[in-house]
Amino acid sequence: MKIRPSLLLVLLLARSTIAAGDPAAELASFSVFDKIDINELVKSDVETIHGPPMAGRFLSVQSCYVVPGSPEKQMAALKNWDPTKHRELKVFLHFDLPPSPTPENFSKLKNAPDNGSVRAFVSATQKLSNELQISKEEAKKFSTSQNGDGIAAVAAPWAQVLSARAKSFVSGGTAALAPYDHSGEAIRANEELQSLLKQQDKIRKQFSGLLSESGIGRSAGSLKPELYWELLDVDDHGVVTLGASYNRAGGNYQAADVLYYASGGYYVALTLYQMWPVTADGKAFTLVWRGDMISAASLEDLHGVERLGSESVMMKDISKAVTLFRRDTGGR
């Protein structure tokens, strides 16, 4: 069947009009949530389902929920939420960073709790384990400057490595980051992020404006990131990680949160948010879409039911995190 160009234009315009005026239609245009009922979502918990299947070492999950209040309020709540209050999330330390981080900004690392995960992190550092995701140049810092016992023995070199990476990110985005090449194949965070987004084309297009102004999968953009670092647990191993958040308000509420460095466990992780003001029963609510994408070596070779299993666990974890977030912020 042939469609005349003028008719095609009308159809395209009609589609974009629907998308612009109807949050549910816009959500359906780029996400896996084909059909949502705002009134039902107001009454329900977070809905989480796996994203489009991703190949290689990538996995994605998408979530959708409705919370009371405006998108601005949600943006602020996301920014201020402290995950360390919830032990089940296994985030041991979380600190914000200034725009020009120095090693002193990571001094709290030496106060990390003494548990199995942190001991595994210290042990991997002291042995310069192949699992450590650092560059060859960074490895030299660890081989020459470890004094004391426990986390204190490795805190100083890690503070140097983390501050240098955070500075690189601020100045040149993920494109400026050193590769993980200490143990062989060079893995570049920038390429991982680009590959993640390449496999999620609808999402990439939906967030192209925000991403093009950020340092995610590219050099530094015009938006200023809010920086932070964390010590968390990944499969019973402590991992130090660097993150950055971006958000954009004013008609199109979007946010991005990237973990652009991790000492192990995963290469990069990216969470994108889109929010819409909606009304239900005469009250103001915010419809939130959240997309989580991750790149990790341990996912590379999961197939069939193993991959389904990983997706299920990822869905459960994100549901749990969102539920705790909503509880803390009065969203549920």
Binding site: H50, K79, A269, H303, L308, S310, V313, M314, M315
Partner: protein
Amino acid sequence: MHCRSFNWVAVGLGFYLLNTIAPAQDAITEHIPSWLRSGEYLAEDTYVADANVRRGDQVVRDFTESDSILRFVLTPRTRLGVLRLGAEWERFTFDFPNGAQLPDTLQSASLVIGLDTQFSDSILLRLEAQPGFYGTNDLGYNDFNMPFIIGGTYIYNPNVQIVLGVGVDIERKYPVIPGAGIRWKFARYWVLNAVLPTPRLEFEAAKNVTLYLGANIKETGFRVGNHFGDTHGMDDRLNHALLTYSEVRTGLGVVWKISSILTLNAEAGYEPYRTFDFYRVDVRYREDGSAPYGMLSLHGAF
């Protein structure tokens, strides 16, 4: 904006693999239709030595067994879940002395048709049928059977999963066999993988090497030939009879993940239990003592 945790990166129900040849694999798979890009395979052989079985005063002594398996299953992802489409061949051969009332070959050639799907974020479901021929030397349409399994995995958390299932084979002595199991990662390097038919206690000795103590439990129905009884002990009740063959192996094994798509598994131990059961005519041979065995397999997924 940091509401996340990272348990999933370690999961995959306990499978860790290396990625040493991923670039080469990517180059190859670019030219392959997407539904052919995901699958799994197995080539396995087990040798059992010095076995005896007994039926009353009748003893069949010092025979050996070879159990060979070839399996190839494509696992394309669809909206419904992961399809399982492939084929499997398994052949048991025994060097019984002349006059034994037992078949020297049991074999099956079947299709594998199944689906793995997410019932919710906590429950995975597997439905799988293996329609095919289950007989002795010469397989024919009389040997057709279609055993199937229905199983579910409840993901309690990344370290604990509970499995429930049922295996159905209408030509087996016990047509419906329910099963339950648990996979529990109870310490950093230790996993209790108590799931039938291969329960194991696993120790991750290195990133790509796992040692285990475990068992392998097999029970399959086969139909012998139309004149089997006439030529094996002159017992015409055994003509075209159904035979349920069962065995249990217990041993120590090592799993070496050589690359992202190739894993070598070696195992050795003893086989404490085995029966050849023509259950409809009450002719049953049981293991007399135990027999040593060794197993090698190559398997992987892509």
